[in-house]
Symmetry: C2
Subunit: 398 residues, 2 copies
Amino acid sequence: MNAAMIDRYAKLAVGFGANVQPGQIVTVNAELGREQLVRAVAAHAYAAGAKHVEVNYADAFVRRARIEHGRDGAIGFAPSWQVERIHEMGQQHVAQITIEGGIDPAATAGLDEEKLGADQPPTRQEYLKLVVDRLINWTIIAMPTEPWARQVHPDLAADQALERLWSQVVNICRLDEDDPVVAWQARMTRLLEVAARLTERRFDAIGFRGPGTDLTVGLLPSSRWLAANFHTAGGIEHHPNLPSEEVFTTPDPERVDGSVTSTMPLQIEGTIIRGLRVRFEGGRAVDIDADEGAGMLRARAARDEGAPRLGEVALVDADGRIGPHRTVFYNTLFDENAASHIALGHAYTFALDDDADHARANHSSIHIDFMIGSAEMEVDGITGGDRVPLLRGGAWQV
Amino acid sequence: MNAAMIDRYAKLAVGFGANVQPGQIVTVNAELGREQLVRAVAAHAYAAGAKHVEVNYADAFVRRARIEHGRDGAIGFAPSWQVERIHEMGQQHVAQITIEGGIDPAATAGLDEEKLGADQPPTRQEYLKLVVDRLINWTIIAMPTEPWARQVHPDLAADQALERLWSQVVNICRLDEDDPVVAWQARMTRLLEVAARLTERRFDAIGFRGPGTDLTVGLLPSSRWLAANFHTAGGIEHHPNLPSEEVFTTPDPERVDGSVTSTMPLQIEGTIIRGLRVRFEGGRAVDIDADEGAGMLRARAARDEGAPRLGEVALVDADGRIGPHRTVFYNTLFDENAASHIALGHAYTFALDDDADHARANHSSIHIDFMIGSAEMEVDGITGGDRVPLLRGGAWQV
């Protein structure tokens, strides 16, 4: 991608996305291969007055070495200073920019799924606290790389695949607009309106019916619908996902029942889970099955009491820019914003108006979204015996 | 380089170099571009029983963004958790493997030398403490990359330059021996014998005379000569530099007088200092001049009271494997082991037999070696009025 477009993307992430403030420390996380965008982000962050930009490049092949050669105690371990670092990031209210994208399939090919599932360090849970307590202003973006592009467009030559993926990302992130910020503000305004209307109805539950799916997700009495327009506890507005096309809220982790078939493959840290089917009873995922990769997700969902319960339910209409590309991106940031989704694990308690509901929301060391929406999926709001249509053919009915 | 040789190099670094122990946390530092060796090191470290391998990839272009766009407070700043991390690494007695090599000249081209000089974070001083207190077993190696190879062999095509630099590194690191460890042990035995003989003489000072150089470096009463065969306070033997061809000791920071002309260019974090000339009075570098890059070194030498004083004096004979390549490597790990050298900054107090001398040794937040040896350099041991020849034409006289 040309340097001017990279610069535009970085500027959007630093400004509209994380909204970096003068004097803030900025942490940047990226898998290797995204250096060009990382450096542009660093330049924009320093230009915005950042006191420091700390870049952490992750290398999926180092994790491969751990899974292959590490002794038992090595799986899922993190040095104490890494956990302390995350805690301090919250205390010092950093800004954080994560640059995602696919992971080279060679980094995970043939590895033990149970070990991959178990290899989640304690830093993850510490990080979820920062998000839930709204201590940091953060955003996640993604940068196309050749391994990712080959995964998304396997029928194209590598360079064409990369070019095509970039053009899709540019379109989806509104970088092709005269002013991407204005375009995003317009979309956010629309999503916030929908969220407000959903909140007003105070539905008792959301129902999903479609091929392979008949699921009821109970809500809590004070569940408020949000769009991905967040404010830190200190009042810094930020947009945690670019792109974001969803409205979401926090469900009742005790009242989820039925079966759901995922409508898209799910990629978790390089492991791809295909044909995922989950059955819930009394809020708990009692069966997790898949055509491929189930072991990894089962291991994650067995980590703690809250891991097999829901922490999020999100609705996505067909007006977003991702769906029309009719592309599976093998990346949750993109795929979850093309389709309604639910997440196993920790809940965003800030989506609950009543503090009394906070203790009822789900608590876990994981948070894993998976996609359940499609044009065929009928989504209803349920109150008492009434079912109110919310989405039909991907269009809002409210 | 082929995977088998990379594997051999990694094994040498993990075993003979850092001597990673079962259950240790291993920190790996590398500039981007050295992923292949980093991953092989990670695999060998896990196979050796490491509890965790933490890889930190540095990106010189992120530093470039800081120098170009960072506000005043950003230069030389590090988040508190980075300093705390180094402290904890010492408390937890990690093993550390640093993979050096050249830095792409594009990362520093045209940057303000004063800012580059000032941009040393407090983590550096904290790290020097770990080394001086012998809290960690560590090693430094280097991996050829294309930008480095082009710097070393500018007359060759890029691929040929890389191939040539690799073949030199393989030779210098004894990776071309049937058993590199046996070859290194033989060389270390020889260097330790020389060091023992030098220590026995208890010279009052070392004299250097050669083109542009007439320098006397006073020693402390208990200065002991060492080779790069270290033991942690807990007793783990390790080899901190691969390659290493030097014997060295800790000088008297108050008794260094005369002038010295560096015999090789010096590369500090990508900045190249050519034609360096330093004049010392009463131990202090009172003039630092150079044909190129002086500003960067002057800024470093002005950081604290000890920065313009010597913390190390090292002698290198012509039997090592680096000199015969007649190559300037633009990398201190290689160049300092081709020629006698001195270092501005912090002293290795463990090279002093008498605790009373520890307080007299130099203390600083910097440690910067520069090369002063050559075939023309006459190195003498001085006691009273006597000058005993130590090196003539690169050959030991003792």
